[in-house]
Symmetry: C2
Subunit: 221 residues, 2 copies
DNA sequence: AATACTTTTTAGATTTGTCTAAATTTATTT
DNA sequence: AAATAAATTTAGACAAATCTAAAAAGTATT
């Protein structure tokens, strides 16, 4: 597999993440995500298309080719392994790891990453609960649902938090919600879609719809 | 402390290393070391001078300012801590760590490096025997001498190997000489300055002048 | 000291990734 | 469907880091 520049990698990664929501990604979406101008996105798309990493017809949006997805999964693997290392070994707190991993992920030496994986004991999820792709880019598809879809009075485990802005992390920290937290929804209010939830032995408390939309849980346990 | 580009950091580090030999570094020396053309060196020197990282008058060679030395020691600290991590934790072999650390060293997050240092137990030397600068850039000045200067029949410990090309490392591996190896010089030949040395329980064997010049030892033990 | 050689610097070009401003295409509204 | 608005692309510029070729400065040689 070839080597890509830091810029190229950031574009590929961003497309991979944005694709999840819908099928195809637009110029403006990407420029917002990467804090560049739309014109810069177009330039890079031409370049990545020439390298066969994505499908793209002018004005039609783009999506990663299978080759592009492979590259993306490699970057995500590196990112999440470093996050795990930072949290587990260096004792960084949950909300600090992302930024540092953004830099480490671009050191792309296969042996380094495979040995790091081994050293860490082949972890399956990073500190945010996101699954870590293996050497072949295979990713564990965990049947997780959004907290907004969790039925009342069903115990579930927080498995993922989607937004990585420090705002949400601060709020979650304050409410003592993290990956692995056991919780259940006690009441939902139609007026604003807020809900009352219970975690551990604390009394119930309320969270907003916006927050609930960013929390994902695994249930059946 | 400001942030520098990967290129700038590579120049600063190279100057630091070349300075050791003599006082000042020339354009050609640096271009040879970095595998760039002399014209590129001149361009970068202007830039680094403008940033007050070095002293430089056209045609006169250059040397790092005290500010530049501080930056260099920071880079070297990162490099050597990563080398230690790779060898000690990820079980990379001695001769593989340098190349990988060349990339990791440019991730300059102070907290990352200080926590890595702590995680590793504040090691004082890297796997090549080179001292690791502390948080303030202080470096342990070990009174080591070149193997060519070691008197006959004095037991000494290999403390450093200066050339990091894979050629020398391969040779040392084959002769089973590494950092910490106990050895003594049994005989010297004036004709070609080769010498017979003894390590551990093996029979004596000969090494060339070129090799001996690249091996440094601590003695008195 | 004049000539020849080496080293260093300057001048101008190239590549990568970005930008602004203008043009084009697609989508929306009346 | 024509007009308007929004999204996207093109065209041209710029900064960083590099290069080649030519000029300038410094060193060595006769």
């Amino acid at each position: 597999m070839l080597n890509f520049s830091t810029s190229e990698e950031n574009y590929i990664k961003a497309i991979f993440h944005l694709q999840k929501e819908d099928g195809t990604v637009t110029t403006n979406e990407l420029s917002r995500e990467l804090k560049t101008k739309p014109a810069s996105v177009t330039d890079m798309m031409k370049k990545l298309k020439a390298k066969k990493l994505l499908h793209y017809q002018p004005y039609q949006g783009f999506r990663l080719s299978s080759e592009g997805s492979k590259v993306a999964l490699g970057i995500i693997r590196r990112h999440r392994l470093w996050e795990y290392f930072l949290a587990e070994k260096l004792k960084f707190s949950w909300d600090e790891v992302h930024e540092v991993a953004e830099h480490l992920e671009h050191v792309s030496n296969k042996k380094l990453i495979d040995k790091l994986d081994e050293f860490l004991g082949f972890p399956r999820v990073d500190p945010h609960g996101d699954p870590i792709p293996d050497q072949d880019g295979k990713i564990e598809s965990s049947r997780q649902i959004c907290l907004t879809d969790l039925p009342l009075n069903k115990v579930a485990l927080v498995s993922h938090v989607s937004d990585q802005s420090s705002g949400i992390l601060e709020l979650l920290k304050h409410k003592k919600i993290g990956i692995g937290t056991k919780l259940e929804v006690k009441k939902k209010f139609d007026f604003d879609n807020s809900m009352e939830i219970k975690t551990g032995r604390q009394p119930v408390f309320t969270i907003s719809e916006q927050l609930a939309q960013n929390i994902f849980v695994k249930y059946g346990a």
